[in-house]
Every structure is written in C-alpha cells, then in structure tokens.
Assembly symmetry: C2
Homo-oligomer: 253 residues x 2
C-alpha cells in the first residue's frame, strides 16, 4: 500500500505568494523544495484514492476513470479547491466527507460527477478491498482523519487538527498503524490560538505510538525555516513529508 504526497504544504504552500523569507525565496529557485497545498494519493491493489484536493490540477493529473474515490478531510478551500474545476465534468466519482452543511462555495449545489457521502465517525466502510475508518479531529470546520487498511498495511492520515480527541487516541492505540501522517504546521513555540499542531506537540504525540512511524505534513514556511537551522530533527521514527515522495506500508507482517 503506497501513499504519495502530492501536496505537503499548509494553506498557502511554499513559496507563499509575495513572501521574501529564506524558505520562500529558495523555493522559487529550487522547485524540489516547493510545497503545494494538501493532497495525497493512496494506491492499494486496484484501488486508487485521492485524499483531499489542495492541488489545483486534479482534472489533468487524474483523467476520468483513474480514481476509485476521493476522501475529503474537511471543506476548507486549501483542501478542496482542486474539485471546483473537475466537478463541471461528466461521469461519476464518490467523494467521502465529514458532515458539513456548508461544504465549500457551491460544490454541493453543482456537484457534477461528485457523489458526496457524509461519513459518521468510526463507521468503517470499504472501497474495493481497502477498509477506511473515519476518526474525528478538532479543527475550525468539521474534520475527519482517515485510518486506511489493506491486507496488513495500516496508515492513519490526520490533518487538519489542533488535538486528537480521546476516542481517536483510543482507536489509534488499539489499531496500531504502521504509519501516522500528522498535521505539523508550525515550528515549536508558536503562541496564540491555533488550529494545527506545532512540532513539539507532534513529537509528543509520536511518543504515544511506539509502533508507528510518524510523517509530518501540512507544513508552513515557518516550520521549513526552523528546519533549516535544525537539520537533525528527522529520525528513523520521525520524517518530514515532501511533495512527490511516497511511503510504502508493508502489506504482510
């Protein structure tokens, strides 16, 4: 089971439009360190799931018939903006999402080929042979994480969130994923009300899951700047996601 990161950035990605910080300036020259907004694709057997649609060329990357379904974590624009264009097309594509009466802009009014299904937390469903359990997260809009299982492979995809609710923690501890992909938007010590984890919080969460590799994503230019002066933060257990990189979860253990 393979997860490929298409976009590992926070809302504005890297480089941020108009930003002259070291990280954004570098990313304008070296495209390999750019971060698009949140998006990933999970492939297992015959199933190909898109997770969020923050990249804006979904229709070109995935011609009709090449995706099994879409999993939407929540309806902030940086997670669904790639669907605005695609939904004027034809055909049929299931899009699983949290209960959110508003959705985003007119996606519900003109869904086109998108068949939205609103999920209930912890109610497992299947796409082909892939089992998916939505788990609640805590954000400024209704948000679900996805625990995805194929044969013995288990991966949890958890963004955007400022905490893991107790029920989600209990589920994860019982479920014991091989990999947890976790929101880690900020460097350590950002003050004020936040809707995302910082690095210290993400590391503390990792300690609760000794069997899981932690892959940090939804990364802001602030965290990338901090990482430039702390290059040894990555370990066997903790890694920083990068656009176009992939993770393979073993299907037999």
């Amino acid at each position: 089971m393979r997860l490929t990161f298409l976009g590992t950035g926070s809302a504005g990605g890297v480089p941020l439009w108009g930003c002259d910080c070291t990280v954004c300036t570098r990313a304008r020259i070296d495209t390999s360190v750019r971060r698009l907004p949140n998006c990933a694709v999970l492939e297992a057997g015959d199933v190909r799931l898109l997770i969020d649609a923050g990249v804006m060329d979904i229709a070109e990357r995935f011609p009709a018939g090449t995706l099994s379904s879409i999993l939407i974590t929540h309806f902030h624009a940086d997670h669904v903006q790639g669907l605005f264009h695609l939904r004027w097309g034809t055909g049929s594509l299931d899009a699983f999402a949290p209960h959110d009466a508003d959705g985003c802009a007119d996606l519900y009014k003109y869904p086109g080929p998108l068949n939205f299904t609103h999920l209930s937390k912890f109610e497992t469903f299947c796409v082909g042979d892939v089992r998916i359990t939505p788990v609640p997260l805590v954000h400024s809009k209704p948000t679900l994480g996805y625990c995805i299982e194929y044969k013995d492979a288990k991966l949890a995809y958890l963004t955007d969130t400022r905490e893991l609710p107790p029920a989600t923690v209990s589920f994860l501890k019982e479920w014991r994923p091989h990999t947890i992909c976790l929101d880690c938007t900020y460097p350590p010590g950002v003050e004020g009300k936040r809707n995302h984890f910082d690095l210290n919080e993400a590391i503390a969460i990792g300690a609760d899951y000794p069997d899981s590799n932690m892959v940090l994503m939804h990364i802001s230019h602030h965290l990338d700047e901090w990482l430039m002066t702390h290059p040894t933060i990555e370990t066997e257990k903790f890694s920083i996601a990068r656009d176009s990189e992939f993770i393979d979860c073993p299907e037999s253990i």
Copy 2:
C-alpha cells in the same frame, strides 16, 4: 492597450473532465485548442489589470508586484478560483468587485493581501491612467461588466450575462467601444433557462454596435463542436477568442 486571453472557456473549460465529445477528445491531444476558465490580463501603459481569476495558477503567472489590480466580474468559482491560493500570501493587491454579500467560500473572511472594493454601477474609477466604468449585467449572481479606457482605446469586457440591461446598452451606444468581448457560451438554439448568451443572441447584439469589433468568449465545448461544422462564422467584425491570443486596441484614432 492590449487584452490577452488567459482563459476563454465556460465553467469547466475545454476539455471537460470525463467528456468524450469530439472537441474534448481533440483538446486532450492538441493543447492549442484547450480553453481554461475565464481570465484575461489587460495591459496599458504601466498598468496591468487581471480580469477574473478562473485559471488556477495565478500566483505562479503573476509574482507579487506584477499586477496593478484585479477586476472581478462576479464570485462564481470559475471566475475567482485562482484567488484561493494567492490570498494566503503577503503584500497588498486591490480587487474590485460587485456588491455580493456572499463572495465565494471564505475569500472575505481570509482575504490576505486582497483589498476588496465593492463597486457601484456606472461609477467610473481609475487605476493609474486607465479609466474603468462598471456596468450591470444579468446573471445568477451580482455581476458587472467592465468598460476600460486608456487614451483613445476603449474595450468592453462583458461576461457572464444572459442579457444587457437597457442602461448598459445606453452606456455602450454612447461610449462606442473599439472592441466588445462578449459572453457567448452556447451554440444557436439551446433551449431552457440560461444565464449566458448563445451565438444568435451575440450576433444580434453585435448589430447594435456597428463601430465595435465583437470577440466572443466564455465558450463551451458545445459551441466549439458547433463551430467545427460552421467554420466560416468568423468575419472581420466577429471573432472567437482563443486562449493566449491578444487584442490590441488603438490608443490614438
């Protein structure tokens, strides 16, 4: 004064995702006949105006500091979707738009560098030496056309609309633009309630403005398909806009 079309398509552009019609199939092979969603850039003297933002890589096409302002015709996603990403950036950019309490998604809530100004019809304003008069159109959301003037050059940009209100007609007849860029989404004879012009309507409107060149835009795959079997529709007066093409309006007459 030069207008360059960045996107001449209707909401879903050409090719439509999943569509196997002749036009959409051709556009997947021959990228020169693709149509992105609505977007244009107007250049006059030192001024560079973006008109709508249907193309989704605005932040890459126009680095910070390269646009003078944005003119928004209305807040349907296919006209503003390129702003979702850019607005997480830094700096300041004026965005002129019709009065629309809803906007689109959370653009008003998190405008970032975009300074939205809501315009009143027929109240002329200036960006540098460019004079702009917003004129009312008739659509399913509050919508303005823009009559743009620099020295002796005059261009009217009129999309999306199903009719020209009498006050707009009076203004245009008095103003006598060199070029009218007009919504022409459909081929002749499309039945039912519509929010856009068809070709017969666009041609009829052209007859009312004998001094103006008519450039038809916001084109659907249906109209492109009709045009394949009616290749002689273009005349000295009527032309069909294409992505990346430009129009020069004479600045002295």
